[in-house]
Symmetry: C2
Subunit: 446 residues, 2 copies
């Protein structure tokens, strides 16, 4: 098949999954999310298509779809080689569009929209090269990689030159590391056992099951009630022991002082990190929490709500983040995540991606594998979140073996969501939604 | 007329003004904005209506309209006294809605949407009390004022108790200050002479005119070319002299080091502040710029893109902001701006609101007047931005006399946009837009 030369169309589907029925994804701030995604398909002058998603909790998914549509005229008609030759320029043409940037800039709805589009372009590129994204990135020259990054407003912390140096250093031993990750995969941790809405029985059953399948890193949600958290932490430790890492996630619940007090009370259960202890915008607050908790061996982890590279830059500079939790769709897609991975490398902070949601596991694994092969060169203290839902709807679901993500082999990045899932869960007309409306489990929108 | 008891409806209009034709509003980052606003009308069980706006640069106005619509079910049907009795609770029910908050949280499109709704509720409240907003606020007890504020994630910096103390101190001498501002108004500065797209001739003519009308504080845009900025600054100083304040605004154009170098070259023109020198999210970057420029007598001003009280909290704490430029619609409306005004008071930083756009002058004047009467108690180093466009479309346009905003007298906050403007500029069906499409000055949307 001839290679496509330009983007000829962009369609958007509003896909939503009724996860609130099972309380999957419940935490201290989000009681009943319906995991959803705007699904972007870029068509080309050949049969090849690029797919992109972003992630939302249900309501508002249509807003992001509309925001994506708002960028359409900047995308459709573009020559693909022109994009690849100056990807940072293309990225900026979206992220800094003259009128739209006011709505952010580079944050919230418009940035989620850009993530879906940009990731679809990368999916297309990877498919054109016949490689999974991690491999496309790993094979790229340092010069080509930095050419995709918009370094604006990063000059005080990471210049293009420094980024290039980090990547050049990462070329040494690349082939061996690639062979290693292909053979053994990349460490995962699971969030699926510890949702706040789950009963003790369910937690015990799921954690025991996960252990027996070789999973050996666990995260639990905290922040409802400190005594209840202590009880649940004790239960976790009784099941998994003290040699395996246990992480805790407060989902932004606390004030700064409250976070410190609360975690001091949970310190005996040896959490590796406390995730999102307070408002995700509060760099100085996170820094204060980190300063108080680091002596107890507890790091601060955050990133899933961190809106862009400028915020990551500051979190890292202020020692407010000991674990850098990049998200596949919160920031402006691959280009911006490359910038953040390089920032984390500069500060020696491990990248431990946030995942779960819809397709996030499928996406972030590529980043960690690339990080290992070409940037940090190590898996020490690093792992990828795993949450066990909605994978059945992915064309190429993640493969977890012995507690590790196995390298994806299919060409592409987002790869795709199955045709059946798209038919069933497109909102509100999909078959499953029609059933849920008719059974009275959800209210039909006006 | 009996007082309304509940909100019975919420309508949204997509109003856009073709300001790009005149290059009004052009700056280093926004070459051709079309000033626009989603316009919210809350209806009640009486004839009384509350109006609310938020501000955008054109494209994307419909996205904010859709986001407003997404909150509709949380607003329509609500009892007004219940809202007023627990306004912080109502505010949080929007800002932290379980599923929608993922799209922010508390930033970007969803927060702009909340601003329009919240401001419409305040407009309604002020109209019910028969007072302009500044007077409604000035007459409110400190206890009632703090009851409207969501203090979540502010506990490390400003507690409810401290806020109450600041407001109680502000009660002393209140009547005298009210009389003073009613008699003399509140100092304004003008941005209308110094847009980046204006010719030298136009700048000279406008500045001379403004001076002759009693305006004595000026702001110019910078960031295109340093030599050109120096030439234009010299021209400004030749017209206005060195006794009147001149401010500079870079609209986020620079890197941190570049901002410092550039402003050192412009220091001889004695700018009072440099506004938005770099990325608006870069607290630590602004702090570095402030540290370098404060010894030269140049302060750092920012706020119009500052997404919420958590960011303002950090800017103030980090000494990154010597002038606090609250915006009427960027954060979540009156309730959150009260929090920010109190934070600024705690740090002794003057509040100098951002204005211009659509209706922003009409809105922010209330904040400064309230700040003077009840919080800071002084106008020293304080002024309100004034930009001279689109006032003709306001039902109650601002009145500037002797370079000062005169206190608005009509009951309400947003008060309203004229019926004629709503008919002419509703997008895309309005009469003016139809004319612009038919004359080929704008392209009709698909």
């Amino acid at each position: 098949m001839a290679a496509p030369t330009k983007i000829t169309g962009l369609t958007i589907e509003d896909l939503r999954f009724p996860t609130s029925l099972q309380k999957d994804g419940s935490d201290a701030m989000h009681k009943a999310p319906d995991y959803s995604c705007p699904y972007v398909i870029l068509s080309t002058d050949t049969d090849l298509r690029g797919c992109g998603t972003t992630f939302t909790l249900g309501k508002g998914n249509a807003i992001v779809c509309m925001a994506i549509d708002n960028f359409k005229s900047l995308v459709v008609g573009q020559n693909l080689q022109d994009i690849f030759n100056d990807f940072s320029g293309f990225w900026r043409s979206l992220a800094s569009e003259d009128q739209i940037r006011w709505l952010g800039p580079e944050k919230g709805v418009t940035h989620l929209a850009i993530a879906a589009i940009i990731n679809a372009v990368w999916d297309l590129w990877a498919k054109m090269e016949g490689k999974p994204l991690w491999k496309l990135l790993a094979d790229m020259s340092p010069e080509m990689l930095v050419s995709t990054i918009d370094f604006r407003h990063m000059g005080d912390t990471l210049t293009k030159k420094e980024a290039l140096e980090i990547l050049k250093k990462g070329q040494v031993g690349k082939a061996e590391r690639e062979a290693e990750v292909v053979a053994n995969g990349y460490p995962a941790y699971t969030t699926s056992c510890g949702w706040l809405g789950y009963s003790d029985e369910k937690i015990k059953r799921l954690a025991t099951e996960a252990l027996s399948q070789g999973m050996c890193r666990f995260k639990m949600k905290v922040g409802g009630d400190v005594k209840d958290d202590a009880r649940r932490a004790k239960m976790f430790r009784e099941i998994i022991g003290y040699d395996r890492p246990l992480m805790m996630d407060a989902n932004q619940k606390w004030e700064v002082d409250e976070a410190i007090d609360w975690m001091k009370q949970l310190a005996e259960y040896k959490p590796l990190w406390i995730e999102e202890p307070t408002n995700p915008d509060d760099i100085l607050g996170h820094a204060a929490i980190a300063e108080a908790l680091n002596p107890l061996g507890i790091g601060v982890a955050t990133g899933e709500h961190c809106q862009n590279r400028i915020m990551f830059k500051q979190f890292l500079k202020a020692k407010a983040m000991q674990y850098c939790q990049i998200d596949a769709t919160r920031v402006g897609g691959v280009n911006e995540n490359l910038a953040i991975i390089l920032l984390a490398a500069k500060f020696g902070v491990p990248v431990c991606p946030h995942a779960g949601g819809v397709a996030l596991c499928e996406l972030v694994q590529h980043y960690s594998m690339f990080d290992f092969i070409c940037v940090s060169g190590t898996m020490e203290n690093r792992m990828i979140e795993f949450a066990d839902h909605l994978h059945e709807h992915m064309s190429e679901p993640v493969v977890i073996r012995n507690g590790s993500y196995q390298v994806p082999k299919s060409p592409g990045f987002v790869v795709g969501i199955t045709d059946k899932a798209r038919e069933d869960y497109i909102y509100p007309e999909g078959k499953e939604w029609q059933r849920l409306f008719s059974e009275g489990l959800f209210t039909k929108p006006e």
